[in-house]
Symmetry: C2
């Protein structure tokens, strides 16, 4: 077993022939496997089924403060659900708004609000140019929100502690730079958690734009998968020290705690931001689904309840991460042709293959019946400048499917690399 880069043409050709044979064997099986999206598996969803029993026809559908959850009202969520999210996000209840079933929707609506009404400033839609910083690789749905609103995206490279702060601190001197999306814990796709130093430097930012907003997408705040979970500093605590609390809009949801299709989302922000957001919401809705809020509050009760539940998710997910990481360690690592993180939580494994090979890997996988997230999806405009990053989502397939899919992936990574090396000779 030798590193591919050390091989001569003949050795590479021999290796290629062997890989092509392996690849053909898989392809001939006519498989249909999907590692493309961060969806929980059906067994994970089963974990929450009993939540539906908390409210049947004979239940008193009243919140702790007596509000009838069936009727209109309560713009920002019932008290016990706000408390639950306040505990999850470690913020004051008054700084929480409970939304509908989607934190993506809350983020989109916040950006839409900034477009039409600004953030205590000129509406962004009235400006010639609005830019957002995008830690890369990152979450495609953040990028598509920016793209939809015509917000120009500027890449900021991620390192092992989060976004490269030297680059970021330089870029925010541009007053057309109005914001940034980020996933501070178990980042999508790398599973990196921002270090204390990074969080502190973010909290201390003094952007040229006074209406600079960071959308702190804390989607994986309680989504640990092993006994050495990452710890993320509380961004609001840090921002309180730097008088920068208006800079942060945090969101999270129970999509990967209870049900992705019927969870509850929430937002945390400073008093000023909460006021502006509630003002908009008061025109937008009379209130979100309070029965579902009550269901969640009754079932999970508090953060301890959530944590116990997340251990049950971890018991299902962790072995799946292991399958992928082991196969990569065994069949890719020896060739020194790719790199990846070993995340302690989240939903993804981010695989960096050799420059110029990611699209080819995804293509080869697809032809062999394994769907991966499109190459480039982890970059703004779908353009990975090095064509190297691939996002692997191990949760949705069954263990058996995942084993096969990962084997195929590894063969494709090797085959694409050998092809590229031969091409470059």
């Amino acid at each position: 077993m030798a590193e591919y880069r050390m091989m001569n043409n003949e050795e590479l050709s021999a290796e290629k022939a062997q890989l092509e044979k392996l690849y053909k064997d898989f392809k001939d099986q006519g498989l249909k496997l999907d590692m493309s999206r961060g969806k929980p598996g059906a067994d994970q969803l089963d974990l929450t089924n009993e939540m539906l029993d908390t409210l049947s026809s004979d239940a008193v559908m009243k919140g702790a403060d007596g509000v009838d959850c069936r009727n209109y009202g309560i713009l920002d969520g019932i008290a016990e659900c706000k408390e639950l999210f306040a505990e999850i996000m470690e913020v004051d209840v008054k700084n929480v708004i409970v939304g509908g079933n989607s934190s993506l929707n809350m983020m989109f609506d916040f950006v839409a609000q900034c477009m039409t009404h600004g953030a205590g400033s000129t509406p962004w839609a009235k400006l010639d140019k609005v830019k957002f910083l995008c830690p890369v690789p990152g979450y495609d749905r953040h990028f598509t929100i920016c793209e939809y609103f015509g917000i120009e995206m500027v890449n900021v490279p991620m390192n092992s502690e989060g976004p490269d702060m030297d680059v970021l601190e330089e870029l925010i001197k541009d007053e057309t730079v109005k914001g940034m999306f980020c996933v501070p814990k178990y980042s999508n796709p790398q599973g990196i958690t921002f270090s204390d130093e990074t969080v502190k430097r973010i909290a201390a930012l003094k952007p040229a734009a006074e209406d600079f907003r960071i959308i702190w997408d804390n989607a994986y705040c309680v989504h640990d998968i092993n006994d050495t979970p990452d710890k993320l500093l509380n961004i609001f605590d840090e921002c309180a020290k730097t008088d920068n609390e208006d800079m942060i809009i945090e969101v999270t949801s129970t999509s990967k705690i209870s049900f992705p299709g019927a969870g509850v989302a929430a937002l945390a922000a400073s008093d000023n931001n909460i006021k502006m957001i509630k003002n908009r919401m008061s025109k937008q809705t009379i209130g979100n689904d309070k029965i579902n809020q009550l269901r969640h509050a009754l079932y999970f009760k508090n953060l301890d309840g959530i944590k116990a539940h997340m251990k049950r998710h971890a018991a299902i997910i962790a072995p799946k991460f292991e399958i992928v990481l082991e196969e990569l360690a065994n069949s890719v690592k020896p060739y020194n042709i790719a790199s990846w993180e070993n995340p302690n939580g989240g939903y993804f494994i981010s695989l960096d293959v050799m420059n110029g090979c990611a699209k080819r890997v995804v293509e080869l996988c697809k032809e062999a019946g394994v769907v991966l997230t499109g190459a480039g999806a982890t970059y703004p405009y779908g353009k990975d400048p090095d064509d190297k990053n691939i996002r692997i989502a191990p949760t949705f397939p069954s263990v058996d499917e995942l084993k096969t899919a990962t084997k195929i992936l590894c063969v494709c990574v090797k085959l694409a690399t050998v092809e590229k090396l031969l091409e470059n000779k």
Copy 2:
């Protein structure tokens, strides 16, 4: 008993003294009654409690086409829920989008979309002026959406057949007039249903603005309260004849069918509009709450199921409308000082008192413990030019409360009128 307008000063003063005594008696009771918002009563909400039993932990949470309703996906709603709304709105399934729990939210988001992206046109936020036509009296939450987005509102008087079409046809010659909100069946607050003639004239409009959009808020489409329900022509059928289908965005919801706090909303529109709306939604969310959609589809099954359910609502609501209408007929009508409609459905009774008296009536009621919708709320900017319209919402109070509240209201109407007549002498 004589008409107040025929009375001389002395007679009016005597009447005033008598009314003040009645008023004081009520006031001294320290009542707390609310006729302000169109909220169903708790007994109405009880009608739907069994819907919660359709999905308990042992249920198969799959849609008819096999989709797992617990997981991500299905942007525009599960098949059986789309079918249900297609039947309710009498449109093709492909022209339906199922939303979250709020049709208000779908309307707000549509206007927001027009602001940032236009309606196949220049984004409205880029224009110097955008106007909307507002049939008056109308629904305050339509007006606040316009106000939030800086859309200038132009009053169009309602008559017994809907908006005054002569006025409307004139106003749409202005190309800054970009749209109109309306409640075509059992209008809020008058309970007027647009006549066939009105619907046909609306369908035949040729506005100067090509991106003119009518938000057809069909909130009360199945909300009949007696055996002589109004019939509304299908606006899309009429618009098909005039090649004007892109002009209409219809919304409705189950807020007053199932639960206001946990219902399902939907939108119907032309192929072109659906495409633009889905494009935005694909950036905004991965999908709305499919478990709640499934719950509704399983419980109501089809339009017949909805209609049977609405009869149960009517059995509770109709007597409440009767209480108000009878009291008005008995204790206000003889004095010829106010007018109102006798609606066949919807949620409101619209009371026109003598010009300049509405605010005073609401104030008097409030002081006696009866909360009404604020005077002026049924007009853009909260400004009723004649200060005459009061919206009465009879559904939320109990029958006993409603009887008392209506008695107080009638005394206040008479007292305010006598005060005004004396003032004008």
